[in-house]
C-alpha cells in the first residue's frame, strides 16, 4: 500500500512537468502580446517612445524578454547586427534615405548585403516593396531609424559588449560613436547607481563609488574649494547627520548647500565606513541632479562624444560580471535564464511572485482570497447535490421502471440540460429583479453593511445571498450523481445476499436501508474525492452572474488580462489537487472495500 502511494507520488512529478509544458506552450501560442493589454488606455494612444519604455520595463521585470526555453544569447555573436543598428541610429533620416538608395542600387555588394540582411530582419512592414520604390524611401528611412531602436531594446544587455568594443577602437569615426551611444541608451536601463539601496550593502560600494569617481574626474576643477573652518563645520554637521534616523536625515538633506559638494565627494571617496559613504552618496545625489551624461545630440561636438563614450566605458567596467559572465555561468544561463525556467522555478518553490496586473498583488494572496469565497459555496452546493441526488437515485432504483423512476429521471435530465448560466439568468429574472418576485438579493454574498451584524444575522444574511448561486451550481450535477447511485443500487439489489435478506423475511425498508444502501454507497463514496478540485475550481459563469469573486472569476480574469503568473499558479495548483484527489480515490477504494488491494502478492498473503 505504502509503496503504491509512493510510486503514485513519484508519477505526479512528470505529470506536473507535462502540465507546465503544455500550458506554457498554449500561452506562447495565444495570439496577442500579453503586455499590450496592461498598457491599457495608453497602449495605442500612448505617445511615442515613453510608452515603449514602460512596456519594455514591464517586459524585463516579468522576464518576458528572455528566450523561451533555450538561451543562447550569451554565446551568440551580435557584433554584425549591433554594428548595423548603431550605424543606422547614428545617421539622420536623409542620410539613411541616401544609403537606402545605394542599397537598392547595388544589393549584392558584400557590405550592402549585410546591411540588407539586418534591415529585412527588423520586420518593417512591406520593406522590400518600399525599398524598390524610390518615392517611398524617405519615409522608409524614418521607419528604419525607429525599428533599429526597437531592435536594440529587444537585444538588451547582450548587445553591449560588441558596442563597447567599437567605442574602444581608436580608428572609429566619432560620428559613428554617436550611433553606438544611441544604441547603448536603448539597450541599458539605468546604467549607473548613485546611491546605496536600503539598507546599504557593501556590494554596492564599487558601483556607487565608481560612478561618483567618474563624475569627480571632470567636476573636480569646477568645484569650489573649502576653507579649513568650513570643513571643520561640515565634519561636525556630518557627524550629526550620521546619528539621525532615516526620516530626519532625509529632512536634513533638503537643507544642505551645493557649495559644499567637495566635502561630500571627498567623504564618499575617502571614508571606510559604509554608513558614512551611504549618507555622503545621498547628499551628493541631492546636490547633483544629472551627474553623468549618457546620451548625445546628433550634432554633438567631439569632446562631448568622448566624454559620454568614456562614461559608458566606465559603466562597462563596473558591470563587467553582468556582461561577461564566466563560461560555466553562460552554460548555466542557457537553460536557467529562459522564460520557461523562470516560470518553473517559481512554481517549484511555490513562490508565485506578484501578479502581472498593475496591483502587483501577491499571487498567493489573490488565490487564497478567492478560495475563501468559492470553497464554502461549492461545499454547500456539493452537500445539496448529495442530499438530493442520492435519495433520488435510490428511489429511482427501488421503484425501477415505475412512474416514479421515470418521473425522477425525466426531471433530472431536464435540469441537466439547462446550462448553469441560463439557470442563473432565469433565477435572477424570476426571483430578484422584481418583475415577478423579489425574494433574493441580486448581488454578492453579503449585504453592504454585513460587517456590523451579529454572527447569527451575518450567517443568515450569507445563506440568503448564497441560496440562488448554490441552487444554480447544484442543478447541473444532480443528474450525474443520481444516475450513478441508481446504477449502484440496482447492482446491489440484484445480489444474492439481498435475496437472502428478503428470503429471511426482513421488512422491505430494512432490506433497502440496512443491507442494500450500505453496499451501494461504496462506489458513491469514492466520488467524494472529486470534491476537492470542484472546491478549488469555482464556477466562472455562476460567479459572474451573481457578482461573486471566487476562483472561477479569478481564472477568467487572469485569462482575459493575460495575467500569466496568476494563471500558471492556478493551473499548477489545480493540477496538484486533481492528481492528489485521484490518489485519494484509490485509497478510499481500499478503505471502503477490503477486497481491493494495491499490495503485492505477498502483501495479500
Amino acid at each position: 500500500m505504502l509503496s503504491y502511494i509512493v510510486r503514485r507520488l513519484f508519477l505526479i512529478l512528470p505529470t506536473l512537468f507535462g502540465v507546465t509544458v503544455v500550458s506554457f506552450c498554449i500561452m506562447q501560442l495565444a495570439p496577442g502580446d500579453p503586455l499590450l493589454m496592461q498598457l491599457g488606455a495608453t497602449g495605442l494612444a500612448g505617445q511615442g517612445t515613453q510608452t515603449r519604455e514602460a512596456y519594455l520595463l514591464q517586459k524585463r521585470d516579468l522576464k518576458l524578454d528572455r528566450p523561451l526555453i533555450l538561451n543562447l544569447r550569451y554565446s551568440l555573436d551580435h557584433f554584425q547586427a549591433v554594428r548595423q543598428a548603431a550605424h543606422f541610429l547614428m545617421a539622420d533620416e536623409s542620410e539613411i534615405a541616401r544609403q537606402l538608395n545605394l542599397l537598392a542600387k547595388s544589393p549584392n555588394d558584400p557590405e550592402n548585403r549585410a546591411a540588407l540582411r539586418f534591415l529585412r530582419g527588423l520586420g518593417i512592414p512591406r520593406f522590400r516593396q518600399r525599398l524598390a520604390d524610390a518615392r517611398e524611401r524617405p519615409r522608409l528611412a524614418k521607419a528604419v531609424a525607429a525599428y533599429a531602436r526597437v531592435y536594440c531594446e529587444d537585444v538588451g544587455v547582450h548587445g553591449v559588449p560588441p558596442l563597447i568594443d567599437l567605442l574602444r577602437r581608436r580608428d572609429i569615426d566619432p560620428h559613428e560613436k554617436i550611433g553606438v551611444i544611441h544604441a547603448l541608451n536603448a539597450m541599458v536601463v539605468q546604467p549607473f547607481v548613485y546611491t546605496y539601496s536600503y539598507p546599504p550593502k557593501d556590494a554596492d560600494t564599487a558601483k556607487v563609488v565608481g560612478a561618483w569617481r567618474q563624475w569627480w574626474r571632470r567636476a573636480e576643477p569646477l568645484t569650489r574649494r573649502l576653507s579649513d573652518e568650513r570643513r571643520a563645520e561640515l565634519t561636525a554637521h556630518f557627524r550629526g547627520m550620521l546619528e539621525l534616523d532615516r526620516a530626519a536625515l532625509f529632512e536634513e538633506l533638503d537643507y544642505i548647500d551645493p557649495a559644499d559638494t567637495r566635502f561630500y565627494i571627498e567623504t564618499l571617496l575617502s571614508s571606510t565606513s559604509l554608513h558614512e559613504r551611504a549618507v555622503a552618496a545621498m547628499a551628493l545625489r541631492r546636490l547633483v541632479r544629472n551627474p553623468l551624461r549618457l546620451d548625445v545630440p546628433p550634432d554633438a561636438p567631439r569632446e562631448l562624444i568622448e566624454e559620454v563614450a568614456d562614461n559608458w566605458l566606465v559603466h562597462y567596467d563596473l558591470n563587467r560580471t553582468l556582461y561577461e559572465p564566466p563560461l560555466w555561468q553562460r552554460c548555466l544561463y542557457c537553460f536557467t535564464d529562459t522564460q520557461y525556467a523562470h516560470m518553473v522555478w517559481r512554481l517549484v518553490t511555490f513562490q508565485f511572485g506578484r501578479s502581472a496586473t498593475k496591483t502587483r498583488e501577491f499571487v498567493a494572496t489573490k488565490i487564497w482570497n478567492a478560495v475563501l469565497v468559492s470553497a464554502p459555496l461549492m461545499l454547500m452546493a456539493e452537500v445539496v447535490i448529495y442530499l438530493i441526488a442520492i435519495p433520488a437515485g435510490i428511489a429511482a432504483a427501488v421503484y425501477r421502471n415505475t412512474w416514479i423512476d421515470r418521473w425522477i429521471t425525466f426531471k433530472l435530465f431536464l435540469l441537466y440540460s439547462i446550462p448553469p448560466f441560463v439557470a442563473g439568468m432565469l433565477l435572477l429574472l424570476f426571483f430578484c429583479y422584481g418583475d415577478y418576485l423579489k425574494w433574493f438579493p441580486m448581488l454578492g454574498l453579503h449585504s453592504p453593511n454585513a460587517d456590523s451584524y451579529a454572527w447569527g444575522r451575518y450567517l443568515l444574511d450569507y445563506l440568503w445571498h448564497a441560496f440562488l448561486p448554490v441552487v444554480c451550481l447544484s442543478l447541473f450535477s444532480l443528474a450525474g450523481l443520481a444516475m450513478y447511485s441508481r446504477t449502484a443500487m440496482l447492482d446491489v439489489v440484484s445480489q444474492d445476499y439481498i435475496r437472502t435478506a428478503r428470503a429471511k423475511g426482513l421488512s422491505e425498508s430494512k432490506v433497502i436501508l440496512k443491507h442494500a444502501l450500505r453496499n451501494a454507497l461504496i462506489p458513491i463514496l469514492t466520488l467524494f474525492s472529486s470534491f476537492l478540485p470542484a472546491l478549488l475550481g469555482g464556477s466562472v459563469l455562476v460567479e459572474y452572474i451573481f457578482g461573486i469573486h471566487g476562483m472561477g472569476r479569478l481564472s477568467w480574469e487572469s485569462i482575459e488580462q493575460k495575467d500569466y503568473p496568476t494563471l500558471m499558479a492556478l493551473i499548477y495548483i489545480d493540477a496538484i489537487v486533481v492528481l492528489l484527489s485521484i490518489l485519494l480515490t484509490d485509497i478510499l477504494y481500499t478503505v471502503v472495500d477490503p477486497r481491493i488491494s494495491f499490495g503485492t502478492q505477498d502483501g495479500q498473503a
Partner: protein, 645 residues
Amino acid sequence: MSLIYTMCRTLTNASRAQRALQPVPRTSCSRRVGDARTLTIGLFAVLAVVVGCSKPQNTSGTAVANPSTPEGSARSRSVTGKLTRSNREPAPQDLLLLAYPEDPDTLNPLTASDTVSEAFQSRVYETLAEPQFSDPDVLEPVLAESWEFNPNTLEYTIHIRKGVMWHPMKLPNGKPLPARELTARDVAFSFDCVLNPNIEAAHIRSYFEDPQSEDPNNPYKIEYRMKDKYTFVVRWKKPYFLARDFTLFGFPIIPRHVFSVDENGDPISADFSSKEFADAFNNHWANKMMCGTGPMVFVEWRTQQSLSLRRFGNYWGSPYYFSDVLYQCITNTNTMTQKLLQNELDFAGIPDKDQFLQAKSHPNVQAKKVKLVDYSYPGYRYIGYNLDREVFRDREFRWAMAYAIPVDAIIERTFRGLAERTTGPFLPGSSSYDSSLEPIPYDLQKAQSLLESAGWQDTDNDGIRDKSIDNRRIAARFELMIYADSPTYRQVAEIVKEECRKVGIDVVIAPTKWNLMLQKLRKRDYDAAMLGWALSWKQDPYQVWHSSQADLPDSSNHVAYRNPEVDAAIEKLRVTMDEDEQKELYHRIHRLIYEDQPYTFLFSDRATGGYDARIRNVNFYKIRPCYDGREWYSDRARLTGREMP
C-alpha cells in the same frame, strides 16, 4: 433566446479588455473633469453606477434632521460651516450610492489610467486648477490660488493655496501619519514622480517629453522649482499651445509625506528620480488607498465588493452635499440596470441601447421615481483605412466608401437614434470643431460614379471592381477588422458590407480580440478597422495625424496618414498661443482631413443612463465625465445601503 443573447453580451461586456478602451459602441466613460489626457482609444467604461437598498428609505427618519429646519442647518453648519456648490446646506447624513463594473488595478492617481479609478479619484484628489464644466475654456483655481504666465520666459508662477490640509492617513501598521498642509514640496514631488522614467505614468509623462530635445539627457519640455513654501515655478523650454493645461491640470497632486515613505514610515529613497524609488512607488502600500485634498475622504476599499468615501470635515472649499458615497462593484450589467430601476442606485449608466429603451416602460420610470437620461459623450467612432494599402490609395475610393455607408440608417438601426453624426476628429461643440462641414450623405449613385472616375471597374465580371495599380490588378476587396466581443460592431459591419457590395466593393468582416487588434494596429498589419477615439475639449492632433508618426512602429497614426499641409498646420498650431489663431488652424486641419477622408467618420453615440429622482440638479456637460457630482443634492436622504428587508 433573447435572454441568452443578452447574457452573452453581458459576459463579454464585463471583460476587462474593454475596461478603459473598449471599442464597443455602448457605454460611457467617466474621466476626470476636463481631463487633458489626450487620446484614449475606444470610448467606454460603464458610468459611475450606483447601488442601494431594496426599499426606498423613509427619509423623515429620526436620525436625519431636515436640513431646512433651524436645528438641521445649525448642525450641518457646524460640520463644515459652508454651503455646497449647489448653494445647499450639506446634508447631515445622506448616502450617495453608485456602482462600478470592475475593480481598478490601482488607486494611485499617477499610475492609474482606467476610468473606474478616475471616477473614485475625482472626489478625493485635486489638480492645481480645473476647467469649468459649463465653459471648459475658463479655468477655475483649485489648489493653486492664482498663477501668472510670463510669455517671454514661458514661466508659470503658481501660488499654492494656503491652509489646504491633506486627508488623515495611517500606515499599514496602524500608526497615523502626522497631519500635513499642502505645500509646494508636494507639487514638486508630484512632478518628480511623473518625470521619473521608471514610474508607470508614461501616459502623463508623454505630455512633457520632447523627442526633438537638444539635450537627450534631459528630454523634458519643462523645468520646475520651488520658489518658497507656497510658490512653484514651471518653465517651458519651448512654446506649446497646451502648456497651460498640462501644467495646471495634467495630473492630480499627491502627498509627499505618504508616497515617499515605505510601510514602516521610513523614507524610501533620497532620490525621487531613481529606479529604486520608482519600483517602490509602483508597488506602494498606499496604491490601495487614496489620500488627497478633495471634498471626500477615502474610507475603505473592499476589493471586488465596494469602495466608500466620507465627507472631509477639514475641506478648504465648498463641502460635498452627501455625507457618504458608496460605490458597489456590480459586474453583471443587467443587475446594474435592475438596481437602478428599483431605486437601489442613485446614478448608473445603461450602456445597452435596447435595454435603455426597454427601461423607459418600467413602472418606476413611469412613476417618475427614476429618471432616464441620454447625453452626448465626447468621442467618435470611425472606420480607419490603412493608407499604405493599394486599395485605399485613391481619395475617390475613400469618398466612395463614405457615400456608400448609410450612417443615418446605422444610427437608427443599431443605436436607436441615440447617436450624432460627426465630420472630423475634434469635439463637436467645441471651438476646434468646424461645424460648417456637412456630413456626407448616403448616395450609392455618387459612390459608383466616383469609383468609375478613379478607374475602378469590374473587368472580370465577378461583381467586384478592380483596378490596375503598379501593373498589378488590385480587387476592391479588404478586411474590416472589428472588435470581436461586441455584437453592435458586428451589426454595423454587416450593414457596411451589404452596402459596399452594392457598389462593387467586397468587405470581409474580421472580428478580432482586443489585444490582437492592438498588435495589428501597431504593426499596421490590417486593411481597415472600426474603432473609436475619446476626445478632450482641446486636442493635440499631432499623435494621430502628423506624418512623422506614420512610420513609427507604434504610434496612434495607425492609418499612416500623411499630408504635408496638415503637418504644417499642426506644427503651427502647437506653437500658437492665440486662441483665435488656434481656432482657425483647428478648422483648417478639420477641413483638410475631411477632404482626404482617411477615416470614414461615423458618429458619436450618446451615453445613456439614469438616476434616482431624489437626486436634484443633475446637469450634463460637454467634457468628461459629463456631469459634476459636486453640484448634486437630494430632497430625500438615503440613510444606508441596507439590503435586508
